[in-house]
Symmetry: D2
Subunit: 349 residues, 4 copies
Amino acid sequence: MIFASDNWAGAHPKITESLAANAGGYASAYGSSELDNAVQDRFSALFEREVAIFFVATGTAANSLSMALASRPGGVAFAHHEAHMLEDECGAPEYLTGGNRLFRVPGALGRIDPAELERAMARFDPEFVHGGRPTAVSITQATEIGTVYGLDQISAVAAVARRHDVPLHMDGARFANALVALGATPAEMTWKQGVDLISFGGTKNGCWCAEAIVLFDLAKAKELAFIRKRAAQLFSKSRFIAAQFDAYFRDDLWLETARHANAMTARLADRISASRKLRLAWAPQANELFALIDNSVAKELQEKGAVFYPWATPHGFGREIGANEGLYRFVTSFRTTAGEVDRFGELIA
Amino acid sequence: MIFASDNWAGAHPKITESLAANAGGYASAYGSSELDNAVQDRFSALFEREVAIFFVATGTAANSLSMALASRPGGVAFAHHEAHMLEDECGAPEYLTGGNRLFRVPGALGRIDPAELERAMARFDPEFVHGGRPTAVSITQATEIGTVYGLDQISAVAAVARRHDVPLHMDGARFANALVALGATPAEMTWKQGVDLISFGGTKNGCWCAEAIVLFDLAKAKELAFIRKRAAQLFSKSRFIAAQFDAYFRDDLWLETARHANAMTARLADRISASRKLRLAWAPQANELFALIDNSVAKELQEKGAVFYPWATPHGFGREIGANEGLYRFVTSFRTTAGEVDRFGELIA
Amino acid sequence: MIFASDNWAGAHPKITESLAANAGGYASAYGSSELDNAVQDRFSALFEREVAIFFVATGTAANSLSMALASRPGGVAFAHHEAHMLEDECGAPEYLTGGNRLFRVPGALGRIDPAELERAMARFDPEFVHGGRPTAVSITQATEIGTVYGLDQISAVAAVARRHDVPLHMDGARFANALVALGATPAEMTWKQGVDLISFGGTKNGCWCAEAIVLFDLAKAKELAFIRKRAAQLFSKSRFIAAQFDAYFRDDLWLETARHANAMTARLADRISASRKLRLAWAPQANELFALIDNSVAKELQEKGAVFYPWATPHGFGREIGANEGLYRFVTSFRTTAGEVDRFGELIA
Amino acid sequence: MIFASDNWAGAHPKITESLAANAGGYASAYGSSELDNAVQDRFSALFEREVAIFFVATGTAANSLSMALASRPGGVAFAHHEAHMLEDECGAPEYLTGGNRLFRVPGALGRIDPAELERAMARFDPEFVHGGRPTAVSITQATEIGTVYGLDQISAVAAVARRHDVPLHMDGARFANALVALGATPAEMTWKQGVDLISFGGTKNGCWCAEAIVLFDLAKAKELAFIRKRAAQLFSKSRFIAAQFDAYFRDDLWLETARHANAMTARLADRISASRKLRLAWAPQANELFALIDNSVAKELQEKGAVFYPWATPHGFGREIGANEGLYRFVTSFRTTAGEVDRFGELIA
């Protein structure tokens, strides 16, 4: 009953098999091997247009270097106030952009409210040196709280970004989970709605370490190559990432693992809905679920072997939390079994 | 006959096996798993004292974040003018220190000359704001050109660093190759001579991606933890690095692969010494060999299937290069076979 | 009827006279002249303890370098959401700290609410690398909206900063205006309440360009010297700043100009209170006044020669603004005459 | 007999008079006043084309922000190994470019050798991410050691910069001294030879604090406006700089003070040439002179009231220095009198 994080789940056997299968022989370094090129082509095929791919070490790196590509003196990027960039990255985006600012935009259920975004961006006149100027907008898909932007919601945010002439970035640490939740294609969920670059995460969905920036504007690829190397994020044995993505996309493994993780969260939601001890905080759409639980009940469940953690809600979420109640997060992954969920279901029945 | 780089060699089977063996189940993320802790202990045992270990994505990251830990406003770090930090890292150390400077120190055969270091450091009065002030000294072991600092040579550099009250860093991208060349223990080659922190590389010696900063001053560990996270270098599924180091150290695999790589270079040196077509540029001590070759001969060898590259020598090396001659680098690894070397030997006989 | 800004007012005759009086002969550069030393002593006398003084070019520099002194990897500084650092400095504090973050704290009437500050700071566990960690708290005295922290209010904010073990910075761009408003001594308004360093501004109060960081912790003076030089803020002919401060403090000129400016704002407030056309937004305490004015009335006044500007209130201020109404700022200075105010009073009568 | 530095000389009476004359009334802030605009036009007239002018606080700021405008990830700027940016700015250029590197280029008598520059720049392939890529070349005019680039020498350096597609910056801390030495016009000494932007210094030549970046490429002016503000270098009462430049250019005051300073150095050179106690290190061309003096003689002269300092020569200058001899610098300024020089001449006769 491990619902702590999708980062706890190790790697899918097919991922490690691929590493073993590609470990032999010699291959040129720094992303220039045949396998690297093949994976680059695979990404282009998936996105239905030529893309530039940059492997990096972490989701934080993908986010921060995306912001660095967009950065300029006095720059301000806009993200939801629950965004990973704002809450969990130790200031890496600010540091790696040389001090650009992140501006917090509110919005219900983890999604940027386009009207709030417009209001926030309108504060920064791009001709007025005192206040700073907009450089980027970033959305998280799936969001930090397990919801998903609909295609029209992405498009609405993109329209605001475009109006202010800045790129739209998607933090896709859980890209696959959102994709299968929407039943959309990668192209539909991204550039067809106005997304300009993506932090494309494979780690949480079954890889060991497979994060890439997907860039649609090829004219900026050279700049990003320098940005990545300068940030010490260019792997020498790059094929070890390529080998993971190769297996990840083969036979739609990535969609399968994401569907499974989402299904396990849905199953967990059913069990919680059926229980009187816990309340769903809101409806989950991907592989994260948030529940309101009496703190003593939570402790008891944890003592009985369920692993899950409280979730800070500095911004609230439009609903009262009882005096002895806490908000808790549950995350499922490719590894979660129906049995795990059902055992938890029995505990809370 | 691939002598291009030890980065071309993929991973040793035991490394990928260890990844497979540790991929299952759940383990806590961000370096807090049991396996992470066990590897941390293994490092402490190896170094014969408690050390703090920080996995990072690349050797450039290990070097740059080591410099960042030592950095301060107006800071200047000192490295050999052939150092990887100066020649091959795209300014990452300057960027990740927020603009500290690297100062080039000369010295024969890839090693910092302690007298030159003293002269260079003496230029910077730590009380004089205009010139900047020393923050660190960095040596590369084995050096960029395949030589190795003797223990007394490390100690001599350390004495200068200590006199100027700054830490001594060792870029150990090829730590194991140097270690077996010297027949020393990790402790003897580092802190016993005055080394304060190490970029400890496993990647070139048979891992996929296994780089760590080894820090002896535990009082600075918390600071480095923030520095690493802020630089987007904290892996979520950290056990995938730990699993590599676990196999790397088990049964002295790392020493075995390093000994093999060094032996292959020695074998290559013998073949070259016996040839009239090539000249050793200097005696190799680890797993890199540099040879002077008539450029047309080099081209012919490459056409016959030998893979090796020219090496720029912006600083010269105290020996004339003929008009049609070039300096070329040959690197061996755990994967190099005696057969490969011997085939090359036949080509040049 | 120029109420645009205290930055419009040129310099007090005694300031330029002092420049002329000190322009002759030779004096050592970079802050080491006799006059520099005398002014340093004068600051120490004013603050009733030895202080270290660092002249810089702008208030933004004083704020940003104060933050840089407090900065550390993953650092977060806390300021009121109307603070100059957050609204008017183009990201200089983030840039000059190498990417530390500024966190917006609310509070009525331009002052940080200590309870809100505690809540904001409590979000950042200094041991948890993901979220970042507190490095400083900054208050603005007088505030951006013309109010003044009472001594006990400073002390209450200082208590929160101290509890989180970070320094308290005071942005004193209008230090003198606040000081005479409170009738306090410099010591009482600063270190006696727990302030650790000050951006001490003379420019708005009659100097040409006279900004200094006043540092109480002398152990940090050397570090700040490097921080200042590295930021290109060390004047060569430093005595041109010293000469201004020399005149500024002589015969309490600075208190006189501040009292005059405040008195002119009070006179303006009286006139506005007596008018039916304008409403005071809140009671002014120093030399800035904010009024709610029907936009067409404002335009008419401006056409008749009154110079004043609208003020953006992104955070609101707990009071409704009418549909056709705007919030406008009026600033008085040493140069403002009673005649100017009275002429404006006649316009609005 | 003060030959310590032109920074010791205070301000010319006409500069302080101009400050007094422009201190009254109100004028809009941050560079938008009528006087600011008039001075901007004056610069354009001087340079015979429209230029963009950015006042900054120090020469170090002018240099560093010029580099920041040219900077890009992995960037390397090239300057003479005696350049102020490399020897006297505490790493400000690296810091304010976010970590771009300065590369030392040798050359006789303080001037970059174009062939050495070509060799240095050729090391950096702009397509190769590992090594970094060229971003700018900077020359110092007059040089740090009192020599002056001839127009053809500037043009030769510019050709190399242009070949590598990077801008040429001129550090003109002593612009006027070089200009009158060459008898050239500002246009001839700059853009007509290929200079793209200038650190234009007035401080050393009679102002209090008057430094400006002169930018010929107007398309980059907006970017530089943000760069300056973000670096806390935008003065609020900007007219205090404008007033200095207004007087500086009026009736060619700046040429007059520069000619005087140069003439005093020439007079000093004559006296030294006539002496047996000192030797000119090389022929001075502007307002700095370097002499080889027996250290005991130097001490004696200093004790008799001559103020001058030793000069470090880390790079040597192609001439032997005797065992007891030192290299000393003498600087003259608008304030230096023939009497001072002659008194010194008597001391050394």
